[in-house]
Amino acid sequence: MSAVHAAARGTAIEVRGLTKRFGAVTAVDDLTFSVAPGRVTGFLGPNGAGKTTTLRILLDLAAPTSGSCVIGGRRYRDIPDPARHVGAVLEATNFHPSRRARAHLEMLTIEGGLDSSRIDAVLDLVGLTSDARRKVGGYSLGMRQRLQLAGALLGDPGVLILDEPSNGLDPQGIAWLRDLLRHLASEGRTILVSSHLLAEMAQTVDDVVIVSGGRLRVQGPLSLLTSQSQSSMRVRTPERDRLAAIAHAAGYAPRPVSDDTLLVDGATPEALGPIIASNSVVVYELAQVSQNLESVFLELTTSMTGTAASVEPKEVVPR
């Protein structure tokens, strides 16, 4: 990790009213979000949500239909020597299979006007030193991802834009990537990383930008999103209505789900159990039902009619 020099502080990424249409298909629809320096921001959404298209527009590889993207207040094309300021990993296929890994990085240093002495450092950082003289055509997908990351870090950039960087990585590789991104963010860099798997990113990201159908669903800190991943208590009782009244009086919002079953959102066994006992309610079954982060993500991304909003925690604690 020490191989990466302390970077200049990252700069913010701003996407404003971005729209991209391919004929009749709207891939990105009036998308607006921002990415702050010093944090890892997860750009999340299912396949086809418009993530890659957005990143390509951000990097000037594609033209927007309308809207704008800037990095540090400038369009990518207006950043002098952009490889010194922005590192990008877009796909694991940007290699000539007959070129050796080291030669690939050498090529990038020439193109970007970068210091070739950093090649050894980044190869060491991504764990490819011993394979550096092999042709990339013989690399596994995971090794190609690592090489892409090495290329992105060559310029010691303050901003990193990574599209599905964990594709092809084994569990150890994913853990390594997580630690690397956390470390890079701790140095003040701006890190935007896309994924279609929230669970994989949950331990890595500070903020989330969730898109679906090309539109923004949610933007905010992950901590606010996790607050939605609440638990509920399912209670089967012959006294459904009486228990509902008791739970309501205790500050919960109980929901009947059948003739003899009640769902009490936000409740825990420790909280609800004593209430049931003190009121002598007959209970046949008491079970905890948890809604995890992934199901919150699925709910957000499959709801195609919702409007974009910042994450607001539901009122789930007893008043």
Binding site: L61, A62, D81, N94, H96, E106, E111, G112, G113
Partner: protein, 270 residues
């Protein structure tokens, strides 16, 4: 180093570190060797014999032994320069390093021209290594051969250089590598001879501005080598003057590149 020179350097580095340009170079060596050999094969009243070239036309044919290599391999090199980027998605990393596409295309033009020139140097090195000893061993005149340096060599270097740019323009237009190579070869070896036959011979129209005819004009009126192929300079008076031939090739190269830039190179990179 400012951006453009380093982009050119990067393009030359790409040539050096992939097999395609070296395969082109190997074929240039082979075709030049074949050209040297056929320059010593002469026909006389139906009898073919191996002997040193003696006439001005025969010596010019030997000096231009790399002509076929130039018209076949230089355009292919140019095609590879751009289509390899599309085929292996390397254009993405190129544009990330330098998003101004006109500069990138310009660097490819210069790099293709330089590598084309390098192919010409290698071709003449092959000629010198094989042709001169063979000429001397057959009792030919080295002085007679050297007299052909002026009429042939500058034009041949220009042909390698300009045809590489022309090939790059074709590659920019079509983007697909196989289609580009087939188009480059098809235009040179199939379509142009047909057009020349139809428009020049039948309709008596001037088709000397076509790339191969323009190449002949700048390279001393040479034609492709081969048994029975005259390598003739006898039709040289029908061609453009050398400088008009050079202008025609520049227009072909720059024209295809500019059209390719506006029609395909500025498109979204996906």
């Amino acid at each position: 180093m400012t951006a453009f020179p380093r982009l050119v350097r990067a393009e030359l580095y790409k040539f050096r570190t992939t097999p395609g340009p070296w395969v082109c170079m190997a074929v240039v060596v082979l075709l030049t060797g074949l050209g040297v050999t056929t320059s010593f094969i002469n026909g006389d009243h139906g009898v073919v014999h191996f002997s040193a070239p003696t006439t001005t036309e025969e010596l010019r044919r030997l000096m231009g032994a790399g002509y076929t290599a130039a018209i076949v391999m230089a355009p292919i090199l140019g095609v590879l320069c751009i289509t390899t980027e599309y085929r292996h998605h390397i254009l993405t990393s190129t544009l990330l390093a330098h998003p101004r596409r006109a500069d990138v295309l310009g660097a490819k033009v210069v790099a293709s021209a330089l590598w084309g020139l390098f192919m010409g140097v290698v071709s003449f090195a092959m000629l010198a290594a094989m042709g001169i000893p063979l000429l001397l061993s057959e009792g030919g005149s080295l002085r007679g051969l050297l007299d052909q340096v002026g009429p042939v060599v500058p034009g041949m270097f220009a042909a390698f250089l300009l045809l590489a740019i022309y090939g790059m323009g074709i590659g920019t237009l079509v983007r697909n590598q196989i289609a580009g190579v087939i188009l480059a070869l098809g235009l040179t070896l199939v379509l142009e001879p047909i057009i020349v036959a139809i428009f020049s011979s039948l309709a008596h129209m001037d088709v000397n501005f076509l790339p191969t005819r323009a190449t002949q004009a700048i390279a001393g009126g040479l034609t492709p080598h081969g048994p029975g192929g005259a390598g003739a300079t006898g039709t040289a008076h029908l061609l453009l003057s050398w400088w008009l031939g050079a202008v025609a090739l520049v227009v072909w190269g720059a024209g295809t590149a500019v059209v390719g830039y506006y029609t395909t190179f500025r498109r979204d990179v996906t």
